[in-house]
Subunit: 482 residues, 4 copies
Amino acid sequence: MKLKNGAEYMESLRILNPVIYYKGEKIKDVTRNPATAPHVRSAAMTYALASSEEYRELATATSHLTGHTISRFTHVHQNMEDLIKKIKLLRVLGQKTGSCFQRCVGLDGINAVYTITYEVDQKHGTDYLERFKKWLTYIQDENLMVVGAMTDPKGDRSKSPANQPDPDQYLHVVEHRDDGIVIRGAKLHMTGAVNSHEILVMPTTALDEESKDYAVVCAMPVNTPGITMIFGRQAGDDRRDKLERIDVGKPQFGAVGGEAVIVFENVFVPKERIFLDGETEFTNSIVYRFAAHHRANYGACKTGLMDVLIGAVSYLCQIQGTARASHVRDKVTEMIHLSETLYSSSIACSAEGWKTPSGGYMVDTMLANVCKHNVTRLHFEVARLAIDLAGGLLATLPSEYDLASEDVGHLVRKYFSGVSGIPTEHRMKIVRLSEAMTSGTALVESMHGAGSPQAQRIMIFREGNLDKKIKLARVLAGIPGD
Amino acid sequence: MKLKNGAEYMESLRILNPVIYYKGEKIKDVTRNPATAPHVRSAAMTYALASSEEYRELATATSHLTGHTISRFTHVHQNMEDLIKKIKLLRVLGQKTGSCFQRCVGLDGINAVYTITYEVDQKHGTDYLERFKKWLTYIQDENLMVVGAMTDPKGDRSKSPANQPDPDQYLHVVEHRDDGIVIRGAKLHMTGAVNSHEILVMPTTALDEESKDYAVVCAMPVNTPGITMIFGRQAGDDRRDKLERIDVGKPQFGAVGGEAVIVFENVFVPKERIFLDGETEFTNSIVYRFAAHHRANYGACKTGLMDVLIGAVSYLCQIQGTARASHVRDKVTEMIHLSETLYSSSIACSAEGWKTPSGGYMVDTMLANVCKHNVTRLHFEVARLAIDLAGGLLATLPSEYDLASEDVGHLVRKYFSGVSGIPTEHRMKIVRLSEAMTSGTALVESMHGAGSPQAQRIMIFREGNLDKKIKLARVLAGIPGD
Amino acid sequence: MKLKNGAEYMESLRILNPVIYYKGEKIKDVTRNPATAPHVRSAAMTYALASSEEYRELATATSHLTGHTISRFTHVHQNMEDLIKKIKLLRVLGQKTGSCFQRCVGLDGINAVYTITYEVDQKHGTDYLERFKKWLTYIQDENLMVVGAMTDPKGDRSKSPANQPDPDQYLHVVEHRDDGIVIRGAKLHMTGAVNSHEILVMPTTALDEESKDYAVVCAMPVNTPGITMIFGRQAGDDRRDKLERIDVGKPQFGAVGGEAVIVFENVFVPKERIFLDGETEFTNSIVYRFAAHHRANYGACKTGLMDVLIGAVSYLCQIQGTARASHVRDKVTEMIHLSETLYSSSIACSAEGWKTPSGGYMVDTMLANVCKHNVTRLHFEVARLAIDLAGGLLATLPSEYDLASEDVGHLVRKYFSGVSGIPTEHRMKIVRLSEAMTSGTALVESMHGAGSPQAQRIMIFREGNLDKKIKLARVLAGIPGD
Amino acid sequence: MKLKNGAEYMESLRILNPVIYYKGEKIKDVTRNPATAPHVRSAAMTYALASSEEYRELATATSHLTGHTISRFTHVHQNMEDLIKKIKLLRVLGQKTGSCFQRCVGLDGINAVYTITYEVDQKHGTDYLERFKKWLTYIQDENLMVVGAMTDPKGDRSKSPANQPDPDQYLHVVEHRDDGIVIRGAKLHMTGAVNSHEILVMPTTALDEESKDYAVVCAMPVNTPGITMIFGRQAGDDRRDKLERIDVGKPQFGAVGGEAVIVFENVFVPKERIFLDGETEFTNSIVYRFAAHHRANYGACKTGLMDVLIGAVSYLCQIQGTARASHVRDKVTEMIHLSETLYSSSIACSAEGWKTPSGGYMVDTMLANVCKHNVTRLHFEVARLAIDLAGGLLATLPSEYDLASEDVGHLVRKYFSGVSGIPTEHRMKIVRLSEAMTSGTALVESMHGAGSPQAQRIMIFREGNLDKKIKLARVLAGIPGD
């Protein structure tokens, strides 16, 4: 691992310096721009834990390619223990950042592409896996951050990729050259894109023959010519941009992952970085595997966030003198129950993991989808209960400027105090943390990250094995077989 | 009605010019300050509808005191039709502002105090009702906006008002003079306070003899010496403060009601403006009636907001080409179902209204509490479904500055387009509207406005008449009576 | 009202003596057969209340046809008060029977057919309304019970009526004669059929020209030649059939309404009893109006049942010494909250009632559908909470035979006792009542009676006025009109 | 394993012949009495699978005491794989019986007592573990079924065991002799008691010094003198007792587990069968561990039942021609999602299992409680959806006697048919299976088996580690440590 800690990671980003726009301006240094720096710090935590005594075992792994000690975020899972360790690592990171640390997207892309290229090669005699292993060894040894780029803009969703009025609504190959390909299009909602080193492009959906040019997997550095990123807005981003101290809620870290659109305007990708090119019949599996891995994670990282939120509102209730009320304890219990329900599925789909032909391990797809699907509901319910317990101040608390004001600071201090002995400022900080974690972007991410709810329902129905279930019922009801 | 329309209302506020702080600065003109102007515009809509052909019947009433045509927001309900018309008016206002128009707080305060002062006078031979009628006639004829000021800071909530380390954590009389009283304390979460004309102070909870000085109801103009307001923060307030055009979501109106803390530093109230002073045994009823009226409203105004939100995401689905998908229609159906469930209770508690001894009409308390309690749940579920349908763009859309940028504006336009024929800018506006209406403050208000969920549960249990229910069960089970 | 009380009602049924089968045997006297007698007693309560001092005002009405005092169950609603009184009557009946009293099906049929025949006559110059008024006057004056017969078997539901392999899967006219028609088919799930006097046949769905013969509305006595009924099974029906004293739960009344299939084998209907014959374009409205009226009722009668159930488990908690536990009170509160939520919609759709061209009043269709749709969910949740509070005894309590046994009766008495002073037998009775009201048939009825959930969703979407909602959103977002 | 299959198991029960009453009569042969036989057959399936090729690996284990191959239901879990295999075994058994197979109660008792006696001996120098091992070796080698007997009647639950008016409301030692003890009391809701070989008595709650005599763990055969069992009623038990062929729903197996009260009237227990006697400080752990193991199981066996139920209603929809409707598929998806959510926690708490000092493995208590707690909610929701999809026939279908009737059989056959090619009898069987699996006892068991919901909430709050969570929040909000 060349990059050994957060500082080295940040330094490496400064050198890369890709093209990023935010609020109409070019970002000069993602590690220092107030819009992106909190997200950089979250991702940096993945580097920090790898070198910490306490978390090294979770945060690192041994490469099956080189035997080197590598970041777990660049590892191809070799067994069930790997899958479970990853889950535990994600929960710790959620607890320590209260945010998205972005790096699992690349990890899941790596695992999906690794296991599928093996199968493509088996069928077509291609050498995609060899190319991919070379690239991956580079990623592992350098300890780079990869953004897995899957989601296309999709334009008119009632039309397929090849039938869009604008063919660029799905990323595609516009030219095949001897030494590589030229691609055009865009990837939306790219978590961590602006502070990654490399992009791993994957198709967004199962494709048919008609859409051969859309079936492309490849990788390139984020500062490749032709790539432009535009960083999106988040809830409360202005407070962050103004470097507020209290009202920003989480002074160190972002809302959740900072997302960007990555635009590819005729970007050249050399041959050795192409890992799929036209083999449409494998696109379904790539999406499927990436999605399953990614969905498995949500019951871990979000549980970490909920740990923080449960702690925040519990502390608020202590400050308000209500922590022992039976309805407060009951709501806290419910929040814990719901968050541990999510964690269950992350652990379960890992414990039920299985070995792909390539040797890489997959999570159980049914349980991984169940996991993410519950996140799209239960995180909202946990947030609702948190808002209930936190009280109306979430929506009405004066600003930190008023607290600092000579005119009214003493009034704020007096009338927003709680039980004796705890400064009003503590209360304001926890209110703001609770606000940040229950508002806007934080929840949207739980809904749509790793796929919108309907995507999970399709998988759950497909994997439900209704024929077997019908047979079980017929036997019990005493109905003879067909 | 002296104030005949929005313009006159705004002008009257400029003249009043109370002491308001926001983000550490004094607000010079609430009608023009970007922080407060959107809320002023919402409240102004209550003036506008009264003079509109279409809504006049809903928005005005005939004063039972003077026979004058008055704003319904200053009316003492005289029958069930009044209660139902109010509900319909609130839904229309919700639809037209997508926000809180603040004025029902004063209306509910007026109705609670009117009906209770009658009963106090009956018992104690006082003349509170006469004083109140005089004040109310003034309010009605001038068509003033009143903020009903109930919620105290409460400090350490495990302690009663009289046992707080700081006695000012509940507003109380600090001096009785011949010509009036002097009060000290604060009222939190005061919706519409900064753009009201008058404050109607009421106690926050049932009080016992020990807390006699806390049992005070009185009124005064917002610019009375000793009164300071601090305006609270809301989600996305910086976008509003920067007068953004698209990203603010609702260019004309606020998130929901703008809330302020009102601090009373030894404020003198003349005798004729005192409507309760020490009659602790009536404090419970005041809270109870104010709360019931106020809770009844939430199934109306919030349904208006949900109408807008359902429309917003339906339109987004049309833009994305997904409006005909069965799961989209099913979710829209669910949103309608939930919002109409809320509306049901608003209508029902009005249809079951009853006449108090004073002649003023009360809503059915059980159903009013049921109404608000459902709002604390179903609004969140409607928002969750809206977030589901709106898609990840809620959390990742680039800013309006990027759309306007010469460098990247064309990329935003291209890659955030939907079906042919609808400009990207339309889509962005609707995404931002949906973001504003599902994020932070908007939902917190539904949770805690008119009382937090536990307050409703206490009422529902109390009004549940368990003894009668037990008797019904015993009869049916064939158990002989006691 | 010729039939003045329960006894006269029962006597009239004995004289009618229609063809009814149950468990393979012919029923000789529905008023005495243990399978049907409890349901007869429920329906008889509708007669009893009409002659009771306390409930007469709710239970009777003044006929707009004759000015006679009639049962409300035979009345055409003339105003909003009628609709609301009906709702209150249904809740009382639910409280007094803990069951379905069946008679609202006919009432809703009467109101649907009355208002539609007026409109058919207006369009086609027919005299259906006159015929119907004659029949209805007879029903009112005799005070007869009518079963509204709508639901057809439907066979293969992916096929329309006219395209079924077996044409009789939907009831239809098989012969037109000068003096009347001959019909064939069946009606399923007919609540109260076996103890009604008359059948009012209506089509089950909107029909097109191809299905002209299926568009028939007519009436006949239940003992008309060619009519055979088969009475269906219910949960716990054997205990009822064995006349158990304790274990049956509700010794006097049935599970919910007793349902039968009514088979029509070439039944002749004379001309004056035909109220629609081939005017397919009105079938949709008949179903729609009948369904809306019927759905409105469910938030009333079921709330009555829930009152009983809440009382039952509250009493059980008193017996077990747990009634003061905070989680018990919280669950009771929740049960009340949910049941009153249902009641809200029943009241609301009545308060929002509107006058049809015929003068008869309709409930608000949106809110009526919302009402029933909530019943399909919330009744289950109330039952779940009741099961929670009632405890495991619901599933494990020994029988009344064991209580009566010389060998083990003393053990049952000792080990199933609760707090001092309440006999074990009381506890057992209340456990059995709770069991009966949370098990099987009782809940299925709440799901499918008055239409299955999907039927309500279709209506809710249709009535949702999405175009208006989209317009509201566009205005607020600042998007110019089309 | 002496008892090698179902037949041998049944024969062994006939020899035991304990004292059992049901409906006031003594049961002569539990394997043949229609009330108990279906439950015997369910339990027999645990014997059958152990000798089946396909399931042997799941259904058996290697004894850590003797090295013998034993039934997994008599095994002390030695590692995480054991815990997971048990979960998979339980799901299979649920699928094959659609019912409760009862035997896990004893298994969980064995594991709780084994691991705790080790710790008692460590502290007190007792030899409970040795005694227990001897008894367990006997159980393993003979392959006996053990009922874990925990739940006491509890009388007045606001009073502790030692303060009950009747001291027998909790089972207790009434006499200490040199060679053993005499116990009195009762155990309620004893699943599988009537067809077990041995009873393992455990205390029902944490006890203090005052309740020393209640702190007893011991074992005895079910036919020990002084023991009387009374078998409880279940939903639909009469159909079962009458040996109906179709209407019983599950011709081979019971509703869920048949429960009995076991009364101990001065029962003597010899010294070598006493495993705890007065060491009150361990009672909490026994309950805690038993409960955790038992709660872990519910996400497995109930998921098996839900597999059957999902299959049943899917088949019904095929018969009715509605299987392809989008709302049907959506509801089936939801049922699968919810059931797999339950399964997740069963797997997860096993994957997170930990080694006790004795070497026996425990599940993760938090996740096990979360598992069971979700069962108390989601099983109801799955049942609700099943009732939705199954349709009104669940409550109105005529009996099998009507199908067989010469008079009306042809009408039943005609009017209850569905799509062509499937006999009406098939449909009726599946309706009845669905009825049996969604009604009464089946759901009550999911609520209260392994502890009522509140019991889980207490555990979840206790294990929630709020202090750590508060610390996480403080760090993120930038609040300095205490």
